[in-house]
Symmetry: C2
């Protein structure tokens, strides 16, 4: 696969392409032009062509994209076929929700174990995943191939657990703690899930509409007064 | 406040600016140039100036930005001072985690009530927020100002609850169900939280590093063979 340094924005769009292509497949669409795909995603056709050109040539001029082939290519670019193995740390509300409702395997990731400090949870299994005690973490990581830790511990434990993971040379952390894990001067890749970013975007759009409605009301009032 | 149609990408960056400005304030930084700010965020200075120019003039040529003032402006642009009121629907794992760990008020949103179908939860309070039965939803929305519903019900309930909310003319939905809520042909603004998008970005960066390591190993092997 061609792999150049690709901008963060392009990478952020790839999962959206994947979702749309899955949707199209489900709807029985076999082929789509960059302009139709763009319209459905709110992007320009040239943006779409440019995004995919980062990874090689996918479409055929005048024929559009083969939906199934493009879907497989995007999945491969995203590493969904690499069999990455993950552990979950912290089986509280968020951790439990992830074990319960989030289908890791759908995204090519295998959840191989979970860890917690709660004696009532340790030794139990959930959806086929065993929950181990935190004291077993280092030993487990030494004896099992793990690519990724899903961090769902309480905020106050975030830094100490991160230090333990980094000391074990974990490759990546998917961080749900709402704590900004500053680059720990290590090779660990950190992806922070910031619920607040999403809420604030929504808040922006709500504000925008509020302003539009106020402006419309003001215009109406002015018109009525004339 | 100046408000033009601003691109989605700019809006997505605003919460990151806010977090960085909060961090700078905490670190006692009073003033910052667009180039320093850019460096800390991985953006070019001109991108930063361009982003802020969408909302008016903030910086002073040669003097940089006043961190506290810029922070307040960004917060205002994001609508954090508008007192938006939210209800939570579904107090399962995710809903519980949001009530427990997510500080709505920190982002200017007031969580005024929660709803669930579980009789064991109905009538109880959590962090000062009362949990009501789902049958009270319409009546509550009729008698209380609510701007936003946080949707944390199981996937299979997502569509039916959305229909009820839209029928009540709810202004916005913050969707945690992992179901794509297609624009319901209504004025409701939907913000989907896709955990998978975040996981797949991480998977991309893990794959990229794997490829780089493989390439390095191949170069070494070739060199050793020569």
């Amino acid at each position: 696969m061609k792999r150049l340094k690709v901008s963060h924005n392009v990478i952020r769009r790839l999962p959206r392409y994947l979702r749309k292509l899955d949707e199209l497949t489900e709807a029985g669409v076999g082929r789509i032009s960059s302009s139709d795909l763009g319209q459905q995603l709110g992007l320009t056709p040239s943006q779409i062509r440019q995004d995919f050109s980062c990874f090689g040539e996918f479409g055929q001029q005048g024929y559009g994209y083969n939906v199934a082939a493009l879907r497989d290519q995007v999945a491969a670019i995203l590493g969904m076929n690499r069999g990455f193995r993950a552990i979950l740390i912290g089986v509280g509300n968020i951790g439990h929700a992830l074990m319960d409702n989030f289908c890791f395997s759908e995204w090519g990731v295998c959840l191989v174990s979970a860890f917690d400090i709660n004696p009532a949870l340790i030794g139990t299994s959930f959806n086929g995943v065993t929950i181990r005690g935190m004291e077993e973490l280092e030993n487990y990581l030494e004896n099992n191939a793990v690519d990724l830790a899903v961090l769902a511990v309480p905020r106050e434990a975030a830094h100490s657990v991160t230090e333990r993971l980094v000391a074990c040379k974990i490759g990546a952390i998917w961080n749900f703690t709402n704590m900004e894990l500053t680059e720990p001067g290590s090779a660990t890749i950190v992806e922070n899930v910031h619920f607040s970013d999403s809420l604030l975007s929504l808040s922006y759009y709500m504000s925008e509409r509020q302003d539009e409605e106020a402006a419309r009301a003001a215009r109406m009032a002015k018109k009525n007064a004339e």
